[in-house]
Every structure is written in structure tokens, then in C-alpha cells.
Symmetry: C2
Subunit: 311 residues, 2 copies
DNA sequence: ACCCAGCCACAACCAGCGGTTGTACGCATA
DNA sequence: TATGCGTACAACCGCTGGTTGTGGCTGGGT
């Protein structure tokens, strides 16, 4: 099916006749007639009843019309998503399940008229390059990675400290605990196969390990969170870390436990990054929104790496 | 833009390489390469970075991908809307602003998973023919028109009695009234240019006029409800009837008044019609829903034509 | 009553889009 | 260094989808 054909259908339905639609589309009446005939052949139904002074929609045509319009709108949005200038606000997040996505969902609920596109870049280096080139508008990242200060044309604000929780199966030694201290975790196997070396969040976990003497295994291929949850649920000696706001969908009955960590609580420092000169009109709205909902950071009893910028 | 091209893009993005996508689509790798190149040329952006062992999405490609998927879903829905068997429930209403649309909005809220298509047929005769032929599944109509009993293979249930209200401009003689009686309306000019002779709702107003000695003018072309409201707002001697649930969007400041009518209150008897043997799975759900929300009909102090079937 | 205006469908023709095969190139890996 | 894998470019060609030309139908004006 061709979008030009759909456009022709909508034009003909609106005009009530092929001739006028043809003029509108700058083609001949015969071309419109052939396009409509082809569409009717493809769909297997008659869309118009031809009359001596025009063409009016059949019932099938009436039912098809709103879907055709929606199809054209979807095409318009798709094209707009890559149009330079006046494209949707383009946001980089770490994963689709992170707290960052939750923030963006909230923002979307508050401002449904603002078009958003979400992308997932490799790490903060890529994100910074994309921000400076204008390929993306904002990024949610922990900044800055050790020894790599932010370039001066990129601004940032810390928007959320997300507490890490321990995730265990029902047979884990700590499964019954209301909460655990970081010190208690030393000696336990913590498995995080999703960690990709070289990223800023890998650096975060490196610091966490170094600070509290934990054991985090990043070995083995990452088959996705489903496989991770399956394994953790079935392996008594295995646990993993997970942001408190991470949305999980796992099969019921696995008996997974989310256990708060204290003494101190490791928090992941989400910051919003953007280019100083980015003119996108939705950027200010997003910054205002996040400023309004942002919880305080550096709260007592929490831990984050030294290099996490606190502004 | 061609949907086959979009499908190719989605397949290539999913596969991570053109070769595999080509196999999936049963075309050659060269064809995929050309399609993607054409799409990139159309959009004016690069969607993939070609690597020696595949092709991965650029940032633009990542942003475009969900829109492309949505485009394909929209196309799927469009085709499904006219597919014989297992198509969306097809509902006939009088106008998009009527109380019937409100009922369908409620139903959609209660059952968002049920696909609906709304069409607007000329009158109950067309609706009955469409119901019997299977072209539509259900119809909201006042039944039956005088002297025309429902065929025995069509069933109906009265789902809503909608009170009529008087709509006037701020300078109308009755503009200040909290309510008016039908008797008070005799002698006033009531203008309803939307009435189409031969329809069952024209018959309704004919009966209303005959019963209470009213004057309803249906003269003049119908330029739509906006023009009607404009004229009524500006003409002190003119009023019109409107269903109490009719949703209006009129420019603010017109000072339009909606005045309840009593003694008795004319009500428009909306019934649901369907074919006895219609197997559509959503039909029973709709009937159950309407049965649950249906207000009683034939309430004391209301008036409807004799021929309105009371079941 | 008849003719013409207006609109759609069919036929013939042709350009170019979009497919195929064949080939070259680049980069990983053994 | 050779080989495998994946992409891009070139040449070729069939068929889709446009155009012009024409005929048929119907309702309204003369």
C-alpha cells in the first residue's frame, strides 16, 4: 500500500469527486481513478459508489476514512521526527525501564502536546558528542565520569537520586530481611551481566565495589532482564542491584524480593544534560518540569561517587 | 513514501544488517540497500551507519524507528477496518455530536481493547439494509418510523431517552427563563436547518410539531452547526432544539442559553439495532454495556412519538 | 424531448521506479 | 595473508503508474 494512494483516497473523499481531487493533487482524473481502483482491489472492497456527478463513500469507505487520515498523520509525525529544525525534543536515556523513563512519562502526562523522541546512546561520551552536535537535545546521565569534566558548553542539573535495591529470589539468605546494610552485602555474590565496561554507569559500580568491598560479577552474556530475573529467582546464592524505580514485568510466582539497602543507601545520581545554546522551545519546559519534581540530592545516609556533579 | 520501504527499514533495524532483513522480506540484499538509500534520500538524513559486519541505527534512525513501527500499525488497522470477518465493530450514528457518540465514548473507555468504527448513514431505511446485509453491525436510531415495523431479523432495545432543550441567544424573549413548557413555545420561531425530509428524525419533529402546535422551520441550507449557532446567537426571535447531551463547541462570548423544556419534556428515543444472527464478539459486550448504563425510558412527564418502540 | 455539461471508466502508450544479477570494496578473523 | 561476510555500485529489464484520447452515463437547462 502506498501513502500517495491513501492521500488520494482522503482527497477524493473530502472533495466528493475524483476530478477535484485530481486538481488538488496535480494529477489527471484518470490517475485518481486508477489509484482508487487499485486501492479497492488491494483491500478487496468498494470504497466509492460512482455517480454521474461525483463519487461518494460506501460504508466501507466511511469506515476506512478515519484510519486513512490517521495513517497520514502517522506518516507526518514520522517525517517530522527527523526533520532538522522543529523536530520533537530528542531525549537520551540509559534504558527504557529506568527511572529516567518514568520522569519522561510524568513529563509527557504534564505536557501531552510536546512531542518526544527517546533514544538510547552507548555512554556519556557519545551523549556529549550528540548534544554538542545537536543530534540530541538532552540526556539523562550520571556526570561526570572520573577525570572527565563536562565541556563548558554543556550544562547539567542533578534531577534525581535513585536508591539502589537488592533483588533476590525467595531462597536467598537475605530474602527475609526488611532491609540490609551495604556492609552485610560483602561476601554475597551480586550478578549484573548488563554492565558494559567503559560506560559511566560501569564506573559507578566500580566505585561502589571499591568503596564497600562488594563483589559484583558482570560475567556472562546479557540475555536481557527477563533471563536475569529468571536466574536470580532460581539461584539462592545470587542477587542483583536494581534502581528502586525500575519497572519490572516478570512472570508472577517467581517470588522475587526487593530489599532496601541502608547504611548508607547507594543512590544513582541522574543528571539532565543539555547544550548551553540549544534553542529547542520544549527544552525550557522540560527543565522547569524537572526542577519542580526534582527531589533533593546528597541526602544524609546516601552514597554516590565523588565525581557526581552536585549542581 | 512507501510502506514497503518503511517495513524494510524496520526489518533492517531489527536484524541489525541488510542481508538478514532481505532474507526475511524475500528480496535481495541489493534491493534492501536501495530501499534504505531511497528512504534516507527522501528524509534527508542518514538512518544507518554501515559497518563491515552489518548496519546499525544512527541517532536519527533510533528516533525514526518507533514512528515507523507506529506507521505500520496504523496501516494494519486501516486494512483491518475493511477486512471481511474479524473487523472492528461497525456502529452507525446520526451525527458525531449526538448523545450516541457519548454512549460510544463511554463504551470505549470501558473497553478500550475493542476496536470501533463509526459511520453515519442517511436514515433508518439505509441502516436497516446495512444491518441486514452485514455492512454494519449496530445502529443507533429511533425506531420504528411510522408505518414501518422492524423486520423480524432485526432486534432492538431502547437505550436512551434524551431530553430536548431550547437553545437561544441572549436577546431572545425566553433567554432568561429557568425552564419553558412546550405550550410556551407555540408561536415562537424554531429553526432547524439540519432536518432532512424522509429521515426518521424528521418524522420525530413532524410528530412533535403536530402534537403541540409548534412552528419549526427547516428552510435554508444547512451550513453546519457553527453557522446555526452564530445565527441563533445573533437573532433575538430565533431559537432551536438541541439534545441535552449534544456537545457543542462554540466561540465563547456568544451568550447562548440552553433552556430545559417541560410539561412534557420531549425526549428523543435512541434505540440500538442489530441483526439477530450477527456473530461479532463485541456485539454482546456492547449490548451488556448499554443495558447497564441505560436509563429508564418512558419516564413520567416526557413525550415521545407513539411509534417509538418501547422495548 | 432533446442536447449538452459534467464526471467517471477503459484503452493505448510510454517513462521511470524498483527489482534482479554481477562485481568491487572494506574489514574483521584465523 | 587469505577468507568470509556484508555493503555499495553498475547494468539490465519488466511492470507499475503516469499521460492522452475516447466513450458512456445521467441530470438539468433550453
Amino acid at each position: 500500500m502506498d501513502l500517495d494512494t491513501v492521500r488520494t483516497f482522503v482527497a477524493a473523499a473530502g472533495a466528493g469527486q475524483f476530478q477535484e481531487a485530481a486538481a488538488e493533487l496535480a494529477v489527471t482524473q484518470q490517475a485518481v481513478s486508477k489509484r482508487i481502483a487499485a486501492l479497492e482491489r488491494d483491500l478487496g472492497v468498494r470504497l466509492f459508489t460512482r455517480t454521474p456527478r461525483g463519487a461518494e463513500l460506501t460504508i466501507d469507505g466511511q469506515a476506512f476514512l478515519p484510519h486513512a487520515r490517521e495513517l497520514l498523520r502517522a506518516a507526518e509525525r514520522a517525517v517530522a521526527s527527523v526533520r532538522a529544525g522543529s523536530r520533537p525534543l530528542r531525549v537520551d536515556v540509559i534504558t527504557s525501564r529506568s527511572a529516567q523513563s518514568g520522569l519522561m512519562r510524568d513529563f509527557h502526562r504534564a505536557h501531552p502536546e510536546i512531542e518526544l523522541d527517546v533514544v538510547m546512546l552507548f555512554d556519556i561520551e557519545k551523549a556529549l558528542a550528540a548534544i554538542r552536535s545537536g543530534a540530541i537535545d538532552v540526556s539523562f546521565r550520571a556526570v561526570a565520569a572520573p577525570g572527565r569534566p563536562l565541556p563548558e558548553d554543556v550544562e547539567s542539573v542533578r534531577v534525581l537520586d535513585e536508591a539502589l535495591q537488592l533483588l533476590t529470589g525467595p531462597a536467598h539468605a537475605l530474602a527475609g530481611a526488611r532491609s540490609v546494610t551495604v556492609a552485610q552485602l560483602a561476601g554475597h555474590r551480586i550478578w549484573m551481566p548488563g554492565i558494559v565496561p567503559g560506560t559511566e554507569w560501569a564506573a559507578y559500580y566500580d566505585d561502589l565495589v571499591a568503596e564497600f568491598g562488594l563483589t559484583i560479577e558482570a560475567t556472562g552474556p546479557n540475555f536481557g532482564s527477563d533471563a536475569l530475573l529468571d536466574t536470580v529467582a532460581d539461584t539462592p546464592a545470587l542477587a542483583t542491584f536494581m534502581g528502586e524505580q525500575t519497572r519490572l514485568v516478570w512472570p508472577a510466582g517467581h517470588g522475587l524480593r526487593r530489599i532496601p539497602v541502608t547504611g548508607p543507601t547507594p543512590v544513582y545520581p541522574h543528571s539532565l544534560l543539555w547544550h548551553r545554546d540549544n534553542p529547542h522551545p520544549a527544552l525550557a519546559t522540560l527543565r522547569d518540569h524537572l526542577a519542580a519534581v526534582a527531589a533533593g540530592h546528597g541526602a544524609p545516609g546516601t552514597w554516590a561517587p565523588d565525581w557526581a556533579i552536585a549542581r
